[in-house]
Symmetry: C2
Subunit: 335 residues, 2 copies
């Protein structure tokens, strides 16, 4: 059986795009060994973290190799199974890659998705890694509590939009930073932020944040690093918690580490706690988080946008577009 | 009665020294109100934090005002008391300032010192703020445990030398950074560090640290910030804890915040926790910490150096000398 695939063909120096990937097809043997399953992908996830996955810089996962199928989360349908927990017709979430089919052994990050509960694509967003990241950062690391002022960078994105809503549902005041006036409106109208600021058009972002949070920020959900974060640190309140979830505003960390204002004096005098979050550390907390997120979703309390592009061949361009900051909501490829 | 005092006369732009202080004397009325005590200072503490106390930059205490007596920890003898907890002849630790006498009301940071337990001057060092800082940073914030590799900057100083010994007593491996070959020898021979590095003569400090800690640093006790800390961050291990205790390597934070390599990628991918420590937040943990430090001291397990300079008038020069990094051990003024 032919399996259409997208492989990494050239290692990017910075942002990945179509020039770094090639479409190919390979012969797939669907004869399964004991414990294996075969799946057909329905939706692929396009994620900011992919830039790190194709880079040789130290990361939390080994780099995707040249000529290897691009690593990607996906929702797929089981078409054959020699594993007792899975049967043909089941929908599953897993790292099935940019390809039509995948044969693999289930692992702890894989999980079944119930199509009766919500559209299966939500397993790649609000009820998947994005929702889990938003929920676990705020609850397990930042320990948000009622009355906290929470600031979220990339506030209208796949993670940020859920984070804003989770913080509001927990009784926090929410401020979003985002890159266009349309997204500012979306943050306030759809995702319930108390305030949103267009960091691209703000003359003085540090002051603009101070204007809407004169008593300071208690929790900083940082997806960007760089100049955006530099405007937030002077606004952090005593005992604030800052969680580094991504570094989207930094195009490359090598060969020279980019410089910026030192934060040590803020950290010391304001007794900040700055933490790094990587989702795969928190597998044990995921079931409870998904249950809470699923309840909110089914009660209509989570607004969630998807950007669905059809066709495996469009995945590389969709990835490049992601870093332009023009997308709204979770970017998916439908096969 | 005449009270000799040293007041802040000129606000320093950077490091304070004799040119910023004036000797004066004022008439002191020893008639006490109910609840007050009068004390005679025996030892004054000369501390790196004093630079922050005389600066208008935001800090954890309000700045010392012009013509105000210089703020200072001291060990004093009670000469008169209208407070039920204190009697003439008691020795007390408190913020009595650069002066001969002080009339004040006891506060929670003040405490009695037992001259039978240890020389009273130790209340300004190993059994005082330095020891408490060393102990509480390592135990309450960094949560050191047996087998951790702990790196301490300003390793031979008043805080660092105690921190190294506390970490060793808890079963850690200890690496010290210090600024002269004499201090390197002192770190290893007197304070028990496993390794010490002269950061001033090291060609490549980052590599020198890697050579002695190839598996990485688990706990970074950072008294310096700046280029020294920049060499440590790439050496931090997964899940390392970094505590900002001081920023001695940065001469000024204003008007422009100094820049340096961004640390966000280290924080994210290595899941670091970076925290700020200010001792006055930890009053509740002090009695237990002092008890442990006192036991170790009386069992001869804590090596401790004092640099005693006689004469109130020498305090400003002693403070300036502190920032030259040539002192060994805790700097005191004896009255």
């Amino acid at each position: 059986m032919k399996n259409q695939q997208i492989v990494l063909s050239v290692r990017p120096d910075g942002i990945p795009g179509p020039e770094h990937f090639s479409a190919t097809s390979s012969e797939l043997d669907l004869t399964l060994s004991e414990g294996q399953i075969a799946v057909k992908n329905h939706y692929l996830s396009i994620d900011p973290a992919m830039r790190g996955w194709v880079s040789l810089e130290p990361n939390y996962l080994p780099p995707v190799q040249i000529d290897e199928v691009m690593r990607s989360a996906a929702v797929a349908e089981v078409i054959d199974s020699k594993h007792p927990d899975y049967a043909a017709g089941d929908f599953v979430y897993g790292m099935f890659g940019w390809q039509e089919y995948c044969v693999c052994e289930p692992n702890p990050m894989m999980r079944k998705v119930d199509p009766a509960h919500a559209p299966v694509s939500t397993a790649l967003g609000a009820l998947g890694l994005n929702g889990l990241t938003a929920y676990l950062v705020l609850n397990e690391l930042a320990h948000i509590k009622e009355g906290d002022t929470v600031l979220i960078s990339t506030a209208a994105g796949g993670v940020g939009s859920i984070a804003g809503q989770v913080a509001k549902l927990k009784g926090c005041r929410c401020i979003g930073l985002t890159g266009s006036d349309d997204k500012v409106a979306m943050c306030v109208d759809e995702f319930g932020y108390d305030h949103a600021i267009n960091y691209k058009t703000s003359d003085n972002l540090e002051q603009a944040i101070r204007d809407v949070a004169p008593e300071g920020i208690n929790v900083f959900f940082d997806n960007t690093s760089g100049a955006i974060a530099d405007a937030v640190y002077p606004n952090l309140a005593m005992n604030a918690r800052a969680v580094q979830v991504g570094t989207a505003a930094i195009s490359s960390w090598e060969p020279e580490t980019p410089t910026g204002p030192r934060r040590d004096r803020h950290i010391l005098t304001k007794r900040l706690t700055v933490m790094g979050f990587v989702l795969i550390d928190h597998v044990a907390q995921m079931p409870a988080a998904l249950q809470q997120l699923g309840s909110w979703y089914s009660e209509g309390k989570l607004n969630y946008r998807e950007n669905v592009t059809k066709g495996l061949e469009n995945a590389p361009q969709a990835l490049a577009d992601l870093y332009k900051g023009t997308n709204t909501g979770k970017q998916l490829i439908q096969l």
